[in-house]
């Protein structure tokens, strides 16, 4: 088990290393960083001297090693645009992103589980049909369009909630969290339903029912716990998409998070900030998947057993 987790951590570190490398080489592929930073209104001589100053005239391999060394020390240079330390700049944005993703996840889990359980228990009823049609549509609706629709309805038409920004506290969190969480909610609902439906046909559920167990206890304690294992897996997978979706949602609602900064910096070709923010998103993703791997055996002891057999 411990070895399993260690393996996952190593794989996670490899992913982070891979992303760092890809971002570095890709950002050098697009063109000369000196020209991009200084713009068009400078002489060739100035560009040359700036290139020397920044070490951009050295071989790419040397630049990469230097970049990795300073990356390990947490130094990614200074933002071209804000002229501030890139790492500090990105970390200032982190709380906003965490707040948004946590709220969206909470909403997605609550709605997804409720809808999924309700559909499974009331299988074949109109309620089930409605929930599941909505869930299937949820797979087809682009997050950003849903965000625009919600914005139009609640902010522009009804004036109930702020259009964008983060100044209004909880009120400004509602729309971004709803739009970010809805797609995940649909996915969770679909899986909870099919997982519950499968569990409900098992023998032990019939036994529990025949001994006269109230259906609430039957569903909550006997069925749901087993049905949750694949659901937790999908929530784990969805967390990555949640981070990706956060980039989009933050941009639409001008939510001052890491994702919005990443997109804005890509458009501004502000490479130090791009590198830090993309890396932070990658690290966040890796941490989540490792934590989930640790969580599975607690939910389903059978997983721990198979691992101890597979890895002696």
């Amino acid at each position: 088990m411990g070895r399993h987790i260690a393996g996952r951590v190593v794989r996670g570190l490899l992913i982070v290393l891979g992303v760092t490398t890809i971002v570095f080489f890709a950002s050098r592929l697009t063109g000369d960083p000196a020209t991009l930073t200084l713009g068009a209104n400078v002489s060739d001589q100035q560009i040359d001297s700036y290139r020397k100053l920044m070490g951009w005239d050295r071989p790419l391999g040397w630049q990469y090693l230097r970049y990795m060394r300073s990356a390990l020390q947490g130094d990614f240079g200074v933002s071209f645009y804000y002229e501030q330390d890139a790492v500090q700049l990105v970390f200032e944005r982190l709380p906003a992103t965490l707040e948004l993703t946590a709220a969206a996840l909470g909403f997605a889990i609550a709605l997804g589980l409720l809808a999924g359980i309700a559909s499974a228990v009331r299988r074949g009823t109109p309620l089930d049909a409605v929930f599941m049609s909505v869930a299937v549509m949820g797979r087809a609706v682009p997050v950003f369009w849903l965000a625009l629709l919600l914005m139009y309805l609640f902010a522009v038409r009804l004036h109930l909630l702020p259009v964008a920004g983060r100044e209004a506290g909880v009120a400004s969190l509602i729309l971004p969290a709803l739009s970010l969480g809805s797609v995940q909610a649909a996915e969770i609902a679909r899986l909870t339903r099919s997982s519950m439906v499968e569990i409900m046909t098992q023998d032990y559920i019939r036994t529990a029912r025949s001994k006269g167990l109230p259906s609430r206890i039957l569903i909550m304690r006997h069925a749901l716990r087993n049905a949750l294992v694949p659901v937790v897996t999908i929530i784990g997978l969805q967390l990555g998409n949640l981070l990706g979706g956060a980039v989009v949602t933050e941009t639409i609602f001008s939510w001052p998070g890491v994702g919005q900064l990443a997109v804005a910096s890509i458009l501004r070709r502000d490479f130090p900030v791009v590198q830090v923010s993309v890396l932070l998103l990658a690290v966040g993703f890796v941490v989540i998947s490792v934590v989930l791997d640790v969580l599975y055996p607690i939910l389903d002891p059978r997983i721990a057993q198979t691992h101890s057999v597979a890895v002696p």
Partner: protein
Amino acid sequence: MTSTRSQALRTNARLSGEGTDSAEREPQAEQRTNRQDQSAGPSQARWAARLLRGPAGTRVAGIIFVLIVLGAILAQWLTPVDPLVQNLQRPLHPPTWSWTGWRNPGRTGTYLLGSDELGRDVLSRILWGIRLSLAISSASVVFAMLLGVTLGVATGLRRGALDAAIMMFTDMWLSFPPILLAIVIVAGLGSGLINTVLVLILTNWATYTRVIRSEVLSLREREFVLAARALGSGPRRIAVRHIIPQVIPTALTLATLQFGIIVILEATLSFLGLGVPRPAPSLGNLLADGRQFLWTAWWLTIFPGLTVTALVWSSNILGDWVRDLVDPRLRL
């Protein structure tokens, strides 16, 4: 027989946890198992029959998909005006059939879905947008499939250290969410039409490699491969003549399932300004433009978004249908 059938049924029920009752699908599953027992390829007539006999949702999705594709192909004849032609005298004109638009009509046949801030016809822009989005998505899906299948067949047949390395790379690639991956790649490559296609290919190839490789691993142990080898076929001949024809159905199924994801991804990238550059009317660009006028011109947001949703929904449903048709036990 019984065990295969119940297995197929169970997987089917799990896969189809989307509103369709498993009981409703039972006869289909039986048919499919029969087909597998006969192990004969279905004729075209039987394919067509299955399309008509399938659940109503699939038929509706098929019709919508065909309509959208036709709209894209016939865009230059269907559109009332050029999507890039501006009419600054009629900016932000509401759709002609809406309350405000009806009282203030434009030329007949134009502005059925309103006009944008430069007086460009929204319907024309949507039709051309579908065309562009479909072209980009199809190209990306095809190339991602070619790349992924090639890698999958090569690594599955070869095994060895290179296989292990490529598979580790593939797993790492797959564990990263597509939007983030796309943004990482755009961060490096920069935006643009060709780059968008490249980004979509690069975000998508790994799925094919993973699935196809595992299929090749089981195919290479089968008797017909052994027979081919015994007859003196080299690895290349085995790959081209014996393995690749076997994995094509899976690859195509995967491609139809991936199509919707690619369409959304492309729209999202363009919406963020990281995809197709303006003024090209891609669906994502239309939505990005419309966003600034959400207060005054709802039609700029509603119609392009509805189009994306309809396109993705119908291709998702068709993808599920193709999967069930090819192999209901496929876990894609």
